[in-house]
Symmetry: C3
Subunit: 156 residues, 3 copies
């Protein structure tokens, strides 16, 4: 392989990595609203963590799956809900990446849809043998707290 | 061309396909809210179908265009509306693809914006001589029904 | 380099351009809601312009930064806010590009989130020595006016 080919492969790899991370994050909403607990958990690494400010945190596939199969989320699904993400801005550094963006939860209130949650998200991702996975997702409501806003800053 | 080139072209093609599908779907909202009936219809194949649960369905360019030029959508545009899609998760299999994701319709109610629709979407796409087109889009309100949630599951 | 390589590089470049523009636009929301005035301004060219229908316009980095550091936006941040963009549809023509899409502003009203703004956006972008930058962003509320809807049409 020539040197030029190497540079070209590197450029292709960057695009593939960004595409894989975008796809991984795009799966969260459909999997969550479809009630696929194992599918949601599998977005994370084995010991990955999901911290939801003011709600608690879940570590590892079993605990993350329980967020979906648990009472709160099942009630939300039965009411009618949508976990919608905004676009993510991301930065990849070798086998690690950070992505930031917003998330919304809409809920059917019986006669109208209400905006149940508006949150900031920071996703810390790692490249594994199975592809990119979430190692840590932090989520915090944008209700005026500086700590939530801080999640939205991407490393320089 | 060497074997390495072939693999490389294949990887490039996958990225181009994903980009083309994302662009196709991203056009729906701006075309619909811009009132471009022919433009919306052209996102579909000639005999493509758009099924809107609880509203009906449209088959082929003429019927799909009529959804935009028709009274309901024109009233919505005149009120002030936004058809906003969430990110899509997609899976391509040769010349066919499936994408899933959420959609929102926001409406100006004269003194405030209201969330008029929150729906699940399943897009079945095919590669045509003119590029990727929608063969079937299914849309259903996320008001608690299992059938709507089922639209969000991506083939394994 | 063979002719085939040239065509391949051209295809790779198109994907990189689209990815760079998507990333640039995806940064707006997190930077704005994180209160990063200089970061928001740096998305634009030196003399870039941001026109917000019914609100005014800002030209150049200093004025664009002032939109973020100014009283209105700081109050919004302190209330709790999210500037969320929909997907963008884009068209690149050499060193220029146009992208269109929706934007939402959600605001915490103390006891619930309200949809404060729903707008149409047209982004005119240029390739600079530092990468793609916004030369003009036009934003107008989708409250029924034709001028706002017109922002959503992409060049053929």
């Amino acid at each position: 392989m020539t040197l030029a080919d190497g540079a070209l492969l590197q450029r292709l790899q960057v695009l593939e990595d960004r595409e894989a991370i975008r796809e991984l994050i795009a799966r969260y909403g459909p999997l969550a609203d479809g009630g696929n607990a194992a599918g949601v958990a599998a977005l994370w690494t084995e010991n990955g963590r999901y911290e939801i400010s003011g709600f608690g945190s879940a570590t590892g596939h079993r605990e993350i799956a329980a967020l979906i199969s648990g009472k709160t989320h099942q009630q939300l699904m039965s009411d009618g809900c949508a976990h919608i993400l905004g676009p993510v801005s991301m930065k990849i550094d070798g086998d690690e990446a950070v992505a930031v963006g917003h998330s919304l939860v809409l809920r059917w209130a019986g006669d109208r849809f209400e905006v149940a949650r508006v949150a900031a998200n920071r996703w810390e991702l790692v490249r594994t043998a199975q592809g990119w996975r979430v190692d840590l997702r932090k989520n915090a409501l944008l209700t005026g707290e500086e700590a939530a806003r801080a999640l939205l800053s991407l490393p320089a």
